[in-house]
Every structure is written in C-alpha cells, then in structure tokens.
C-alpha cells in the first residue's frame, strides 16, 4: 500500500450542471476547443409532470487497474505511485488503443498533436499542494479530492459514513471515483 492514493468522492446530487468544472479544466489544461477532459453526464426521464433530472460529473477514474495503461503498446500511458494515470506525450504514438480500452470514454484524441489526452487530476496543481481545478471551482462543491490512503482523511470519512457506488465495476478496473448516493 502506498502512502498516497488520490481519489475523488462525488456527491452528484449537489451537481446542478453548471459546467464550471468543464471550463475550469479547459482553462487550466489548455484543452483544445470543443474538447473536454471532464463533462457532466445527464439523465432525464419521466412523463410530464412526473419527472427526474440527474447529473453526474465524469472524467478519468484513475483506476487501480487501468485498462488504458495495460493496453498501451509504448508505455506512454502510465500510473504514478499515487495512483494518478498520466500520458507521456512524447511516447504517445496516437494509436488510440487506450481510448477504446477505457470503459469511461475519458480519453480523447487531439488532432493537432496527434496524441491522446485526458484528465490528469491536475497533477501539476496537486503536486504544488493545490486541488484540481474542477474541484476548486465548483460552486456546490460536488467533488471532494483527497488521499484515500489516509485513514483519517476526508475521503475515508465520507466513504465510511455514506453509501456510494462506482461506475462500471464489472470491468475490473477498480475505478477511483466514488459517487455518493
């Protein structure tokens, strides 16, 4: 067990689909126009006037067993000791196998550079001691970012006291975004 394991706990009920996280990420990471490293999944159902609308912030799940890293033929996709999954741009040949292997469609292809790109948990910010841009900017503080390996940390506290689920656990990727119920 590493002493650091970054993860996100998301309280989707608080999400109001304002897209602040999406734009914050675009700015912080100079994401090419029209693309996004994070997005809000929407669900609308029901028939007037019995209706439901739900929103779910999504991005790379920085899985424990990241299938993207496994399938990468050059090692461009890799995982740090703290769990963050990153892409070495200079080693990426642009085969997009990782995109196909990602159960969350969290990666996109950047045509200007010919490489694949995705959420980095704002590793450059986190390494400075800041939180990811999406986490910081959120009006309703939907996302809680922290160190899962810290038994006294806020993530463990939330997960110990609240019910949660993860997305697509069947893939065996062991995703590290926990959605509170």
């Amino acid at each position: 067990m590493h002493d650091k394991r970054y993860a996100l706990v998301i309280d989707s009920r608080k999400c109001i689909n304002c897209k602040a996280c999406v734009v914050a990420c675009r700015a912080e990471n100079q994401v090419p126009l029209g693309a996004s490293r994070d997005w809000i999944g929407e669900e609308h159902r029901g028939t007037w006037p019995r209706l439901l609308a739900a929103f779910q912030p999504e991005q790379c799940h920085h899985c424990v067993n990241p299938s993207c890293v496994r399938v990468c033929p050059t090692g461009a996709s890799y995982q740090r000791d703290d769990g963050v999954v990153l892409i070495k741009e200079e080693d990426c040949i642009g085969c997009r196998y990782c995109m196909i292997a990602c159960p969350y469609n969290a990666r996109f292809f950047r045509e200007d550079k010919g490489v694949v790109e995705k959420c980095t948990f704002c590793a450059h910010r986190v390494d400075r001691g800041e939180s990811p841009a999406c986490v910081e900017t959120c009006p309703s503080k939907v996302r809680v970012f922290g160190n899962l390996a810290d038994p006294a940390g806020k993530l463990q506290q939330l997960l110990a006291t609240r019910q949660f689920h993860v997305m697509k656990p069947q893939t065996g990727n062991d995703p590290q975004i926990y959605y509170l119920l």
């Binding site: 309280d11 009920r13 608080k14 109001i16 689909n17 304002c18 897209k19 602040a20 999406v22 734009v23 914050a24 675009r26 700015a27 912080e28 100079q30 090419p32 126009l33 029209g34 693309a35 996004s36 997005w39 809000i40 999944g41 929407e42 669900e43 609308h44 029901g46 028939t47 007037w48 006037p49 209706l51 439901l52 609308a53 739900a54 929103f55 779910q56 469609n105 996109f108 292809f109 950047r110 045509e111 200007d112 841009a133 910081e136 900017t137 959120c138 009006p139 309703s140 503080k141």
Partner: protein, 722 residues
C-alpha cells in the same frame, strides 16, 4: 441511458481563438521575463455577482482564473463564465481600437480612428444635438458596472435628465415591492433556512451568490425543505422536495391562499406583527376571500397541498422564507405579486432572523467629493413623475422611455450614448428598438465587443476588459457584505481605455472637465479611507477583497426603537403611499389572461452558461448550447404538427424567429420556452452570429404598472413548422 449534450471526443477545429491566440498576442506585445508566475486577486465581471478571482499570470499572459476563497459571498467558487472570462481579453473579435462608422448604419463599414478623433467627433455631434434639442435631447443608457457612476455622471453633468439604467429590465418590481414594504430590499438566509419556497426563481440554473451555493448546501444535506413552483421542470425543480407546475401568472393566488390559511388559523407571528407591522387588520380582511379551494382553481395546485405548505411554512418560521427571486417582471401586476411575497414573509416574522429574511448589512465607503452640477432644466422624457411616481426616478423606465422617444413626446431625443448595454437584445420588441435607433441623429457606444446594438452605433469606444483595468472599489451588500477591488492583471492588450478615461476624454471636449478632475486612484483612496485597516489599499491589492470580521449578524433592526424607512416607520402590510398613487394598497389578485386557442405562453429564463445576451460568443461556453431551441411539450407539439428537431417559426404580434423545436417533457403544455442571448446579428460576434433566435424579436411590449418594469411573460406565440 445518460445523454451527454457535449460532443467531447474529437475537437472541432475552430480558427483562431483560445490559448493559441493568447500565446500569439501575448508574445508580441509584452516584454516580460519568461517563467514569471504571479497571482493577482481581482473581481469578476462576467455577471452581476462579481465574484472574487485570482488571476494566474505567466509571462504576461493570463493562464487561469481561480476562485478566491477569501470572499464569503462567492464562497470560493467560480462558475463556467467566470472561468471563461479570460477569453474576453484574448478574443480576436473584440473591439480593439476606436471606430467611426464609414458606411451606412448597420452596414458594418468602420474606420479605425485615434482616440482624439473619436472624442472630438463625438463631442461635436453631441454639442450639435444639444444646440438643436437641448441637453435633454441626449439619452444616456447603461447597465450596472463598477464604473457606471462615471458615465451616469457625465450624462447628468451634460445636463440631460435622461439617464436610463437597467433596473426596469431587471429587478425594479422586486426592489420597489420590498422597498415599499420594509424600506429596503433584504437578502434571504438560505444557508440557515429550514423551509424555502421558490416561485419562478431558478437558483440552480441562474446562479446568484451566495444563494445558489447556500441552497444546494442546505437542501442536499436534507436540512432544508425546498418547494418549487415553476411551469418548467428546471434544475431547481428537479432538486426540490416538492415541485408544482403552477399555472403561469397565478403565483399570487398561491401566496394569498397561504396568507389566508396562516391568518385564519392564527399561525402568524402575532408579537412581531403587533410590534413591527401596520395594516394587519386590513390584510386579514382582504385574504378572507382567498381560500385554498379558490386558489386551487387558479393555480392548479391542490388545495390540500396549499394548506399543508402554509402550515409547514409557518411552523418552520422564522427559519422559513418565500424567496423573492431575481428576475424581471413576469406580468403587469408583478409588483403586487412581489408585495404579496413580502407580506407573507413579514407576517410569519422571519424578518432579520437567522434563516429568515435579513436586511443587508452595510460597509460605509468614503466618497471622492467632486463638484456637483446644476440640475437639468427639462423633465425626464419617460415622465416618471406622471407614470411611475413611486419608482426609483434615477433609473428611468426603459420601455416607457422608448415609447416616448419614438413618439417624440414630450420632446425629441436625438442622440444616444450607451455603456455596456445591448438594448436590441435586452428590450422586448426588437423592431421598436430598431426604430428608436433609426430616429437617432447620433449614437455612440462604449463596449468591449461588437454587440448587436454597437453594430448600429456611429462611434464605438473600446473599453478595456475587466482584467485590464482598475475600477472603482465597491461594496457587495448582503447578509455578510464585502469590499472588493477590481485591479488590472495584465496591461491592455489593445488600444482600449477604462470607462473613466473615456468619460474624461469626452468631458474635456464638452467643457465639463471640472466635474471629472480626479483619477481612479484618488477615487479609490477616498473610498477606502474609512475602512478599519491600516493600509486599506495595499490590503485590497493583495487580497482582492475585504471581509469585515465577525460573520453575519442578525437582529439589529429588531428593537422597538428601530424605524423602517417607510412612511409609517413600520413594515407596511398596507401602504398608504400606494393608495395615494392610485394603486391597490394591499395586493389584490387579478387572474392572468390565458393563451388564446392555438397559441402558447412564451416563458423565459436564464442558464448560467451565458449572462443575458453577452457571452454566447465565448468559445469555451458556446458548445454547452450552440444555439437556442424552442422547448415544447410533446403533447403541445403534436397539436401543431411539430416533431423534435423541426425548424419552426415562432411568431407573436410583433415579430417572428426561426428555431429548432426541442420536444421535452419538462415544460407545461401551454407554455414554450427559449433561451435568451441568441440570434445575434453582429457579424463580429463570430461564434454566436445567426445562431438560433432572439427572444427580443418576438416579446411584446408590456410593463408592470407600478414599477415600469418590463413584463416578460405576457407574450403568446404561434408555432408553425417551416
């Protein structure tokens, strides 16, 4: 299956904008040591909330705007627009230098000129109008901004009574209703309330600080019960504990029935009413007729629910609020509906209590004492005294003003100075605004981008964007008020100036320089000198915001000595002033007109991807809603033979627009909805140009009778597949 509205996977190559442009522009203009990274606190200007931001500047380029957690009003957040704000600076299509029209109006032929030429020309044209029609022949219109005061003062010093501000397109009816009841407009303590009723307010899509964050916090922690009344299933409705698709225009019936239940069951706060309110007996008498059974017929909300909500609401009081909302008038009796809200809040005694309705705390700023000028000779062209004697006169009444200008009565108005405003999209009935433009001898606009209205100006003054200029220091009022500074984080990228410089440039040539002989620094020095800080300006430059210690305070007005700023000195449930002015002294219900056969009520709302009509051209925002749709219930769509995705013509008595229909269960079948801010006609708004349609083109002219506020839900439209 979740449907993402966003196509993320492959990015669309759009020429020119964004970080690429930023790099190109920045490298050319500024010689700043590479690798230098600075964090400069300042204040956002993407919407009226004015959140505190920290700009990260690297090598002279703004890289990122982060939220500033020191501001308790913005609560450490920055919304999508706030994050996208930096593209204002690096927008290749922004206004870059002064322009004088070269072709016909609206033809789009411009001549780039020096500031001197722009000032000289404008001053000469204004003087010509003044000579012929008097100073009242020049109209000065502006939208709220820190530097608006300078522009307004220039208009007044010029001698014109015709300063028209934005409130009658905004909150005038709310402000007037609460002012006439409490002598002030309070804030709502949503963080601590246990019961909140929102009618027509959509706090989770149209963001207001700190209300949005407070409400999501309190409701999602299952502490606060939220009851929502809205003809649309908004995000707010989706998060509410109860949602009622109320029949549009009948909110007041719901409120009056609540009052009926509360008063007839003796659930009001009797001590509070006795000590602080006047006119309770008349109120009790009035609401006797408004039974829940009667209200059920009006509102389509079951009587049993009205009774239950009234009981729960009064049980939860004082931690219960009927939220005032923040929108322009809906109907022509909007003021009275707002009064009913205010009265409901008053009788349950939530005034100035934690979790209730709290008068805004003040922080006194000092003032730079500039020379005062003579009063204008002429009366206002909108004849406020005659038409809206109770309203805030300095703001004017925009729609009535337009009527009178078009009629040339009581006198002609032939020049128009515009600050940061796009009347073509902001006012209902675009065709009329266009006629107003056409009848002007001269129009000058100060803006940062070529808005639709600016497109028709004769002279365009490019203002520096909020990240490039120093603005007057301001107090953001609220339960917990703060002082904020907007300071430049980069030098102006183009040949632009802040508002005060533009005003001074004009003032000098109009012979009014004596009224503006100060710098923005002097102005700010004067403003902060009374703050309890050792080096107030230095503090603000470093922190961007000053928050008085101690947090929110409650109950300062809850002593029998306190005099409310009303005629009686009490909270006026019954208003003599209203009676004197010929209005109902207590809110009397008037049922709204229903849509005629084959027509639908057009309802409006905002979504915080865009601020009004002015950020749809931002590439980081536009893909959230690349164009607006006509939202229509499938049952209604079937009745007019429209399928999802069909192009439809939406027409009213004043105009028509073409939009794609979006069939959704999330709206009443008798209403249709469209998002504001689309259908742009200025080609310089490259990304928004000709996308969707403008609601202003089809909204009919109507206003609230007491405040003069534009009433936006009084239009019935026809839908036709094309």
């Amino acid at each position: 299956m979740p449907v993402s509205s966003l196509d993320r996977r492959r990015f669309i190559q759009i020429a020119g904008a964004g970080a690429v442009a930023a790099t190109q522009i920045g490298c050319g203009r500024h010689q700043i040591a590479l690798g230098q990274r600075r964090e400069i606190p300042t204040t956002c200007e993407l919407c009226p909330n004015k959140c505190s931001v920290i700009a990260v500047v690297e090598d002279g380029l703004i890289r990122k705007l982060n939220p500033n957690p020191e501001n308790p009003k913005s609560r450490g957040m920055l919304c999508a627009r706030g994050n996208a704000g930096l593209l204002q600076v690096y927008d290749p299509n922004r206004l870059k230098r002064p322009l004088i029209r070269a072709g016909a109006r609206g033809e789009g032929k411009w001549r780039e000129v020096s500031w001197d030429e722009a000032f000289d020309y404008t001053a000469q044209r204004l003087s010509a109008v003044k000579e012929k029609y008097g100073p009242q022949g020049v109209l000065w219109s502006s939208t709220e901004a820190f530097a608006e005061v300078f522009f307004k003062n220039l208009g007044m010093a010029f001698g014109s009574p015709n300063i028209v501000r934005h409130p009658t397109l905004c909150l005038a009816s709310v402000n007037l209703a609460y002012s006439m009841t409490f002598g002030t407009v309070p804030s709502f303590d949503l963080l601590n309330a246990n019961y909140v009723i929102m009618a027509g307010a959509n706090r989770f899509e149209a963001l207001i600080t700190p209300d949005t964050m407070d409400l999501i916090e309190s409701t999602m922690n299952r502490k606060t019960r939220l009851v929502c009344l809205d003809p649309r299933f908004t995000v707010t409705a989706s998060r509410a504990d109860e949602w009622y698709p109320v029949k549009p225009g009948t909110d007041m019936a719901f409120i009056l029935a609540m009052l009926h239940v509360i008063i007839s069951e003796g659930r009001h706060d009797k001590e509070f009413v006795a000590n602080y309110c006047q006119g309770f007996e008349q109120l009790a008498e009035l609401v006797k007729q408004y039974t829940p059974e009667w209200a059920e017929k009006e509102t389509e909300i079951p009587a049993a629910d009205i009774v239950r909500i009234a009981r729960e609401f009064s049980d939860a009081a004082p931690r219960a609020v009927f939220y005032a909302g923040r929108r322009s008038s809906t109907y022509q009796n909007d003021f009275q509906m707002r009064r009913a809200q205010a009265i409901l809040n008053a009788v349950v005694g939530n005034w100035d209590r934690e979790g209730g309705m709290v008068p805004n705390a003040k922080i006194a700023l000092g003032e730079y004492m500039f020379l005062p000028w003579d009063d204008p000779q002429a009366p206002r062209v909108d004849e406020m005294e005659k038409n809206f004697p109770l309203a805030a006169k300095g703001d004017g009444a925009y729609l009535k003003l337009r009527e009178n200008v078009l009629a040339g009565s009581p006198y002609p108005v032939k020049a128009w100075m515009i600050l940061k405003q796009d009347p073509l999209n902001a006012l209902p009935e675009q065709a009329k605004t266009m006629r107003m433009i056409e009848q002007m001898d001269f129009i000058a606009a100060i803006d940062i981008q070529m808005s639709d209205t600016t497109w028709y100006a004769d002279v365009v003054f490019p203002e520096s964007t909020y990240l490039e200029r120093l603005d007057p220091i301001e107090v953001l009022s609220g339960i917990w008020p703060v002082v904020v500074l907007r300071q430049p984080v980069v030098k102006p990228v183009y040949d632009t100036k802040p508002c005060l410089d533009i005003v001074q440039g004009l003032a000098r040539r109009l012979g009014l320089q004596q009224y503006f002989d100060y710098t923005i620094e002097q102005w700010n020095d004067a403003a902060v000198k009374e703050l309890p800080l050792e080096m107030p300006l230095e503090y603000l430059k470093k922190h961007g915001v000053y928050t008085p210690p101690g947090g929110p305070k409650y109950g300062a007005t809850l002593n029998p000595e306190h005099r409310f700023v009303t005629k009686s000195g009490k909270i006026e449930l019954y208003s003599e002033r209203l009676q004197e002015a010929g209005h109902d002294p207590l809110p009397v219900y008037q049922p709204p007109l229903g849509p005629p056969e084959g027509r639908f009520r057009l309802v409006l709302g905002r979504k915080a991807y865009y601020t009004h009509a002015n950020s749809t051209s931002n590439p980081w925002l536009l893909d959230f809603a690349p164009e607006n749709h006509l939202s229509i219930n499938p049952a209604a769509a079937a009745s007019v033979g429209v399928a999802d995705g069909d192009m439809v013509e939406v027409s009213s008595s004043v105009g028509a627009v073409r939009l794609r229909a979006r069939l959704t269960q999330e709206i009443r079948p008798d209403c249709v909805y469209m998002l504001h801010g689309f259908g742009k006609q200025s080609p310089w708004l490259k990304r928004a140009y000709h996308r969707g349609g403008s609601d202003a083109a089809i909204l009919e002219t109507a206003w609230d009778k007491v405040s003069g506020n534009a009433a936006m839900h009084e239009t019935f439209v026809k839908i036709r597949k094309v």
